[in-house]
Structures are given as structure tokens and as C-alpha cells.
């Protein structure tokens, strides 16, 4: 190895990745996989639930990916990634022992602390379960501080359901409600069929004292917010995580702007009224 060289290799340089080694790389579903990483320098990457990193695959490029591991175990950095382009494809091909560049963590967090004393409803769609999982871990670690806890999760088909074992484990707990639905059923599926928003009306929570955390495709989130507000949850109690193109993740590149917001710095997690208007306008 070459010795490190100059000032810009200091952590102060926001554009230079740190090196992480792949501990595990396994498939969750046909198009999603999970990378478990460890820092080469041994320094754990401390993060808050909802934050993301930029992952670099040698020679292919960088992508923003939400962290999906447990914040109380930062020594192992976990991302569940959906393969949608050349970089996420290249990351999928990195084997155990291989290296990946990581920058971050970046962005705002789910309001887990603020949610204490309230009922908590997680509404996840598709890969949107991954960015919510760290918040869910945190809530379950301090379960007694919260009221009712519900996870409502919608996937495309039964085969697309992420974290099956964990969902089973959570479902068997007496102190949380877990509902999983699919848009398209398959043979043998005995669970719910229908969109995730339909689960909201079937969930027991006190709308006045509820914090909702919603993550999924933007259209799904719009429907989910409508359903939640229909149940009487105030918009200020609903938090969403948005997605836009991010190249630098630190507000330099301008790509992720949504009106006045830089999704990378001001988001990805927003309290709904902050973005409500912009989400209703096309092509912002």
C-alpha cells in the first residue's frame, strides 16, 4: 500500500471516499441485495436512521444509498441496494473481501427521538423498507418509550418482500403490528393483496398522538399521506424520505434540488408540509 499523502486525504475533503471491505454480499430478492461492510481503518461509520452514503464501485461510479443497518451497531455498515443501473450492478458483483469506497453519512434523520411518547406508524413501499429499518431498530431497542408501533409494508409480489425472516420475527412480537401486502399475488400467498395504503385504515393507532414515517416511491407516498391525513394524522406528524439524483451529496453539485431544498443536505427525510407543495407540481 502506498502511504497516504496530502491534506486532501484528510476527512475534511468531502469528495474523497473512505475504503470499506465487503464482509458479506447476498441477494435478498431477484433485484435487491445487501452489502455488509467494514471500514478498512477500523473507524465505525456512525449514522442516524434515514441517512445515506455514497457508495463507489471501482471505475464505474458512485450512487447514493440509504443505510439500512442498526445504528447501535455501526461497526458493520449495511446497505440494501436495488439493482437499477451500471453502478448498482457493479456493486452487486463485488465479492466478499473486495473493496468499496464510501462517503458519508449524509442527510437528515427520521424523528425517532421526537416520536417518543407517541404511537409510531412506519409505511414502507418496495425498497423503501430499507431506509426505514434503522429507525425501526431504534424504536424496538427502546420499545417502552413508544406507544403502539406498526409496520405497514407493501411489495410488488411475494417474491419481492425484503427481510422476510425479520418480518416474521417482528410479527411474532406482541408489542407491534406488522402488516405486509402485495400488489400482485402469487400462488401460495395467503397474506394481504392490495396497495399498502389500504392497510392504514386497518391499523390501530391514535391519530392525534402518532408519528408516521413513510418511505417508498413518490406516488405511493402521496397516496399514503392522503390516507394518513384522512385518518386524522396531522401533516406535521408525517415524515417522508425523498429521492433525487445526487452526485456530490454535500450541496456542491446542484443535482438534487427540489425547489429550495437540496435533498442531500435538507433531506432526504422531510416533515411533509416542507415538501407538500413541491410534490404537487410536475417536473420540479
Amino acid at each position: 500500500m502506498q502511504p497516504s499523502i496530502d491534506v486532501s486525504s484528510s476527512p475534511a475533503d468531502p469528495m474523497t471516499p473512505r475504503m470499506f471491505r465487503v464482509l458479506r454480499n447476498y441477494n435478498d430478492t431477484a433485484d435487491c441485495y445487501t452489502l455488509s461492510l467494514q471500514a478498512e481503518d477500523g473507524d465505525p461509520l456512525l449514522f442516524a436512521p434515514g441517512q445515506f452514503t455514497m457508495l463507489y464501485a471501482f471505475g464505474r461510479g458512485e450512487v447514493p444509498i440509504s443505510i439500512s443497518g442498526d445504528p447501535s451497531d455501526p461497526g458493520t455498515l449495511i446497505h440494501t441496494i436495488r439493482e437499477v443501473g451500471p453502478v448498482t450492478q457493479a456493486l452487486r458483483e463485488v465479492k466478499k473481501g473486495g473493496l468499496i469506497g464510501v462517503r458519508g453519512p449524509y442527510g437528515t434523520a427520521w424523528p425517532v427521538k421526537e416520536a417518543e411518547g407517541n404511537d409510531v406508524v412506519f409505511v414502507a413501499g418496495g425498497i423503501g423498507l430499507a431506509p426505514l429499518r434503522p429507525a425501526l431498530y431504534q424504536v424496538l431497542h427502546r420499545r417502552s418509550r413508544f406507544g403502539k408501533v406498526a409496520l405497514l409494508y407493501g411489495a410488488r409480489t411475494p417474491n419481492d418482500i425484503l427481510y422476510r425472516d425479520e418480518l416474521e420475527k417482528w410479527r411474532s412480537r406482541f408489542d407491534m403490528q406488522v402488516e405486509v401486502t402485495v400488489d400482485r399475488s402469487q400462488a401460495g400467498w395467503r397474506g394481504h393483496v392490495g396497495v399498502v395504503t389500504r392497510l392504514i385504515s386497518r391499523t390501530g393507532f391514535d391519530p392525534v398522538n402518532t408519528i408516521a414515517m413513510v418511505c417508498g416511491p413518490e406516488v405511493m407516498m402521496r397516496f399514503a399521506v392522503a390516507e394518513l391525513t384522512g385518518r386524522g394524522v396531522a401533516q406535521e406528524q408525517i415524515h417522508v424520505s425523498l429521492e433525487r439524483n445526487m452526485k456530490c451529496a454535500v450541496g456542491f453539485c446542484g443535482h438534487c434540488q427540489l425547489g429550495p431544498a437540496f435533498i442531500c443536505k435538507d433531506g432526504p427525510v422531510f416533515v411533509f408540509p416542507e415538501v407538500k407543495r413541491l410534490l404537487s407540481i410536475r417536473e420540479v
Binding site: V193, T197, F223
Partner: protein, 153 residues
């Protein structure tokens, strides 16, 4: 108040309904039970009822000739099954099957249609409630059709 009327009164679908209207509706209601796998109705059959599901899980299915039935939606406790009794030609457009043992209250559509013709106020109340069910189902269908989790090429 008999048991049926009490059940109807406490069901969200009938929330706020006048007692005398509820009494009329109760007159058209019966308790029903379906075992796992039972058809509640089949596509093309005359639609004479609708159901308030009290317990269990019901699938709405469409069966293409060459493949397994496609489950388009599941309904559960608190949901309303069926509105074809309300609109001509009063025929079911899909199959409904009990995925698990299901208890429901069946309301006689022919009986209700007749009563609504004579009591327009009752008719309007029922229509308002069904419109809400239909519109929410339509919203859900639109979202489902969008296939938001699909891979994008």
C-alpha cells in the same frame, strides 16, 4: 335491538345512520359463514347481496382460462364486499372466495333496492356510503395499476 341490528350499528359503514333506516336494513340482513375455500359468489352470477365482513379474509379473484386465478385484492374485517347488487345488470364481475373461514353479514340487495325505491332518503344514504367505498377502491386500483415498485427500463 336484536343482535344483527347491534352489529350493523357498530359497523363503520353504517356510522351515523338513522335508527329507523337501520331497522329497515336489518330486515334485509342475515348472518352468514363461509369455510376456507368456499366461493361467496362467482363471476356472472346474479348479484343479490353485499357483505359486511366481520371476521376472516376474502379474495377477489379473476380467473383467466389458461392460468391460476389472479387475486386482485383481499378484504378483511370491516370491509364491504360487493356493489354489483346496486347497478344493472346486477351480476358479479369477479369471484369472491373465503381464503380463511369467514363470518359476514349478508344484505339482500333485491330487498334493499326495493326499499330504496320507496324511501329515497334511505337510498341516498346508502349510495353515499357505497360511493365512498367505490371511490376508495378506485384510488387503490389506480395505485395498484401504476405498479410503482416495478423495475424501470
Amino acid at each position: 335491538m336484536d343482535t344483527l341490528q347491534r352489529i350493523l350499528t357498530s359497523h363503520p359503514f353504517f356510522e351515523g345512520m338513522w335508527a329507523d333506516h337501520l331497522q329497515i336494513i336489518t330486515g334485509c340482513a342475515t348472518n352468514v359463514r363461509f369455510e376456507e375455500g368456499d366461493y361467496i359468489f362467482r363471476q356472472g352470477e346474479e348479484a343479490n347481496h353485499f357483505y359486511l365482513i366481520r371476521q376472516g379474509k376474502v379474495t377477489k379473484e379473476i380467473s383467466p382460462p389458461q392460468s391460476e386465478p389472479l387475486i386482485v385484492q383481499t378484504l378483511e374485517e370491516g370491509d364491504i364486499l360487493g356493489w354489483s347488487w346496486l347497478v344493472p345488470p346486477y351480476q358479479w364481475r369477479y369471484d369472491a372466495r373465503a381464503l380463511t373461514m369467514t363470518r359476514a353479514i349478508a344484505l339482500d340487495g333485491a330487498c334493499l333496492r326495493n326499499k330504496c325505491e320507496h324511501d329515497r332518503e334511505l337510498g341516498y344514504e346508502l349510495l353515499k356510503r357505497f360511493s365512498l367505498t367505490v371511490s376508495r377502491t378506485l384510488d387503490a386500483t389506480i395505485l395498484q395499476l401504476m405498479d410503482v415498485y416495478a423495475a424501470i427500463d
